[in-house]
């Protein structure tokens, strides 16, 4: 299974968890039109019309970030692989009041490849972060108006990260010394809980909360490369320990039926990035603790989407969102080289048959050019700054199938 994905939005949250939802600006906490609700709001499962609803999709992300410095006239551009986050959801009715199912999705990820030894190589050369969430879920309907849903999430993931050991260290041939850390199969547990209300035929309201997950890498592989011979006893290949937080997210939203054909949705996500204080990697050799302050802040994402049943076979979707960056001034590290963004989305579904529907989605994420700096890099006891202009662009195209009976 290929889950490499490119982070966009703030930090390394990759909001691409459903093709139908993405078409509508990635709203969905109050929508009940497909098993994508397993992710967006487990409480919605019991409101699905069909006995069985299966959704599967893949999104292709093309992202690029550029860096330049006006003082030194240096520039760099990422060469990120195409990210392909996947999503799979199944929801089945047990009886009138209970539905159950499972979701597999990848809400966090990051894949950024700067040119090796670029100007910011002491901060990052490349990073690849993957995390797959597997969520068995149950949903219970109190009555025709209220429901809840809950699913524990089993998270398994890995990270590979490479940076140069300092702004200067080279071996006697001038090759930059670097460290590559790689953790695989790190797992942890969390949960996803939701509540939904349908006070009238016209609208529904949803609230969902996905818990924070602490990925704890212990005794994973740290490979020190191009280490000068006389430093090899200080920097042998070793193991490392590190914690990575996949922050909690609270979503509140409403879906409003403008007519029998047209639905409007608004969601607000609050992502609790404030928990991400520092990227601390402890090396079990002379390198010791590498502490890299991040000091993220909690942020909101505002989403709006619309869906229109054009004819019997075709549904069109559009949406937009505003994504606040969790990165504060002076903490802009190029492993997540993105600032506030505005997303425009479009999507469509086409019914191939009574039971099978084809979904498309498209996302264009706009970033404004801005000047950022990371001011907390420690160079032999002196704190130095890495500053410059950044600009990013993300395009994503998604395809999915929705099977229901």
């Amino acid at each position: 299974m290929c889950v490499a994905s490119s982070a966009f939005a703030g930090g390394y949250r990759v909001a691409l968890q459903g093709q139908k939802a993405l078409g509508m600006g990635h709203t969905g906490v109050a929508m009940t039109d497909s098993s994508e609700v397993v992710f967006f709001n487990p409480a919605g499962m019991v409101f699905l019309e069909n006995e069985m609803d299966i959704t599967g999709g893949v999104t292709f992300i093309d992202s690029v970030a550029k860096y330049q410095n006006q003082d030194t006239n240096t520039s760099a551009e990422t060469d990120n692989p195409i990210g392909t986050p996947i999503n799979f959801y199944l929801s089945k009715k047990y009886d009138e009041k209970i539905s159950y199912g499972v979701g597999i999705y990848t809400p966090y990820g990051n894949s950024v490849e700067w040119p090796t030894d670029w100007a910011g190589s002491h901060l990052v050369n490349n990073i690849e972060l993957k995390a797959i969430y597997i969520q068995p879920t149950i949903s219970y309907k109190f009555n025709d108006k209220y429901s809840i849903g809950f699913g524990p999430t089993y998270v398994v993931g890995g990270v590979e990260f490479n940076r140069n050991l300092s702004t200067a260290l080279v071996d006697e041939n001038g090759d930059r010394s670097n460290v590559n850390i790689k953790a695989t199969g790190v797992d942890a547990w969390g949960y996803n809980i939701g509540f939904m209300a349908k006070p009238s035929e016209k609208y529904s309201i949803g609230i969902s909360y996905r818990s924070q997950v602490d990925m704890q890498a212990r005794g994973e592989e740290a490979d020190f490369r191009n280490i000068p011979a006389s430093l090899q006893s200080t920097f042998p290949d070793t193991t490392f320990d590190a914690d990575l937080i996949l922050p909690a997210e609270l979503t509140i939203g409403i879906a409003y039926n403008l007519s029998t054909e047209t639905v409007l949705a608004f969601d607000i996500n609050r992502t609790y990035w404030g928990a991400y204080k520092s990227l601390d990697v402890y090396f079990n050799n002379g390198a010791g603790l590498s502490s890299n302050p991040r000091n993220y802040k909690d942020v909101n994402i505002y989403r709006i989407g619309i869906q229109h049943q054009l004819n019997e076979k075709t549904v069109l979707r559009g949406g937009a969102y505003f994504d606040e960056s969790p990165i504060q001034d002076g903490y802009f590290a190029p492993e997540t080289p993105r600032n506030d963004s505005k997303g425009l989305t479009a999507g469509a579904s086409y019914s191939l048959s009574q039971t099978l529907e084809l979904d498309f989605s498209f996302l264009y994420l706009m970033f404004s050019e801005f000047n950022g700096s990371y001011d907390y890099y420690d160079q032999s006891g002196t704190t130095i700054s890495f500053a410059g202009d950044y600009k990013s662009r993300v395009l994503a195209v998604g395809f999915g199938l929705n099977y229901k009976y």
Binding site: A168, Y364, K391
Partner: protein, 504 residues
């Protein structure tokens, strides 16, 4: 409220966006598109003349990547975007940096830092650069930097004549003198009739005195009395002024419209060779201090007995005492009264103060009984700087520093006046850059360097010459001055992409 038509329109916009790539990640003003202009300067034929600093020397050697990152090479690459022509350098054959003279390995390879011993040592390998028969003679080079050259060497015909080695010629110039027998550095440089030149000469006119610890008589006259001139003596400032005028004049003669930049001489007390070793690096416990005090008791008493009545100040300076904690080194000071005629044990020694500068090589043998830089070993159980005074060649004492400062101030006045006197010439204050590197360091936007030895990034392992990154910072500062002086807009480079020191 968005209707269906608007939705279709939005979809269309987004699709168009992809097709025409209108929504790229390009910057509004990419640095790659910045225009360079030469302003009133003409960089079409750029020549740099000087010494090791011009050649790109670092880590006590001239090696390939050092040359490729010499400040003139960095400047030339930027000038090339503003009408600059090609820039040739007498490149050595390898990255080891050592040199053979007539097949005999003569100059050491570049230094690399051994982290285990925490000391620099030449990189292993057999050098392939040959001084004689290099194949470079016969053509002129844009980079006329010759490591070791003093001001008057630049005008000396035959400075590249192998027959003159080692005293009257310089193997680096032997390698690439256009005509080994007759060429002078300035002759080869000026014959190219440069449109623009940078001259940074005169460093060695004080530096060789300083790095040798000021052992020889301070000042000599290399032009009028060359035979009385020790190679490490300071150049007489009046003769320096005469030589300097002849050097600038040579360029004006071949091209009356020549433009250029004259660079001054840094203060030795700002470079790590002289600032790294503290005057008081000797840690002692009370027992050791007591033992040492007992050993110096006879000396202290004898000095007090002889000089107590006439020169109590000197008695105080010469009284050697140790305490628990950090202690000042014991050093030779030839300005003290010579008492060895009375008793050979009464050496002209005292303890160092913050006014003395201890030279970097001494760090290798202070506190040990290893051979010093002169190859001398101290008596058993009397380590250097503690039981045995550091030699004159290990220390610059205030009178020597004063001689250096006096000459340097005069040289710099000459250089600045020469730049001021010619509207086509500008002045670059390299001394100010070195002072800044030593005092505060320089933040170049994507990183930071300072003059701390080995770890600061600005200076290579010889403690005198910059690293490639240090040279790039200097080149950037020069670009600022050139831009201001000639109304040019030459682009700076990224020092962060250049190397600093190399580890073994």
């Amino acid at each position: 409220m968005m209707n269906i038509n608007q939705m279709i329109k939005l979809t269309g916009v987004v699709t168009a966006c992809v097709i025409i790539s209108a929504c790229s990640a390009d910057f509004d003003s990419p640095v790659g598109d910045k225009a360079s202009s030469s302003g009133s300067a003409d960089f079409s034929n750029f020549v740099a003349i000087g010494d090791s600093l011009t050649a790109g020397y670092a880590d006590a050697a001239l090696y390939l990547s050092g040359q490729e990152n010499s400040f003139p090479a960095v400047l030339a690459a930027q000038f090339a975007k503003a009408g600059g022509g090609s820039f040739t350098q007498p490149l050595v054959s390898d990255n080891l940096g050592g040199m053979l003279i007539g097949g005999t390995p003569t100059l050491d390879n570049r230094l690399v830092l051994d982290a285990e011993t925490e000391s620099p040592a030449p990189i292993a390998g057999t050098p392939t650069t040959e001084a004689i028969g290099s194949g470079l003679n016969g053509t002129a080079f844009n980079n006329m930097g010759v490591p070791g050259a003093k001001s008057f060497h630049a005008g000396a015909a035959g400075y590249g004549n192998p027959a003159g080695l080692p005293a009257a010629a310089n193997p680096y110039f032997v390698r690439f003198a256009k005509d080994q027998a007759t060429s002078s550095m300035i002759g080869d440089a000026a014959a190219q009739a440069p449109s623009f030149y940078v001259m940074w000469i005169g460093n060695n006119d004080v530096l060789s005195y300083a790095t040798s610890g000021g052992v020889v008589d301070a000042v000599c006259k290399p032009i009028s009395a060359p035979s009385a001139c020790d190679p490490n003596a300071i150049t007489d400032p009046t003769e320096f002024a005469g030589v300097y005028a002849s050097l600038t004049g040579a360029f004006t003669t071949t091209n009356p419209a020549v433009q250029g930049m004259l660079v001054n001489i840094p203060d030795v007390s700002t470079i790590p060779y002289f600032t790294t070793v503290p005057y008081n690096p000797v840690p002692l416990d009370q027992a050791t201090a007591d033992t040492l005090n007992a050993a110096y008791l006879d000396y202290n008493n004898a000095v007090a007995a002889i000089l107590g009545a006439t020169d109590p100040d000197q008695v105080a300076r010469r009284t050697i005492t140790f305490t628990a904690g950090q202690n000042a080194l014991v050093i030779m000071d030839e300005t003290l009264d010579d008492l060895t005629g009375i008793d050979p044990a009464l050496l002209s020694m005292r303890q160092a103060t913050a006014e003395d500068l201890i030279l970097l090589p001494a760090s290798a043998y202070i506190g040990t009984e290893d051979p010093n830089s002169a190859g001398t070993t101290p008596p058993l159980d009397k380590p250097w700087g503690v039981g045995t005074p550091l030699a004159d060649s290990d220390v610059l004492i205030p009178s020597e520093i004063s001689a250096i400062d006096t000459a340097r101030a005069a040289f710099n006045a000459t250089i600045e006046a020469a730049a001021d006197a010619d509207p086509n010439l500008i002045f670059f204050d390299a001394a100010a850059i070195m002072t800044e590197l030593n005092a505060n360091g320089i933040d170049y936007g994507t990183g930071f360097i300072d003059a701390t030895y080995a770890t600061g990034g600005a200076f290579s392992l010889d403690g005198v010459h910059p690293t490639a990154r240090g040279y790039a910072v200097i080149a950037n500062e020069m670009i600022d001055v050139i831009n201001a002086g000639f109304g040019a807009s030459i682009l700076k480079v990224d020092p962060g992409t250049k190397t600093t020191i190399f580890f073994k």
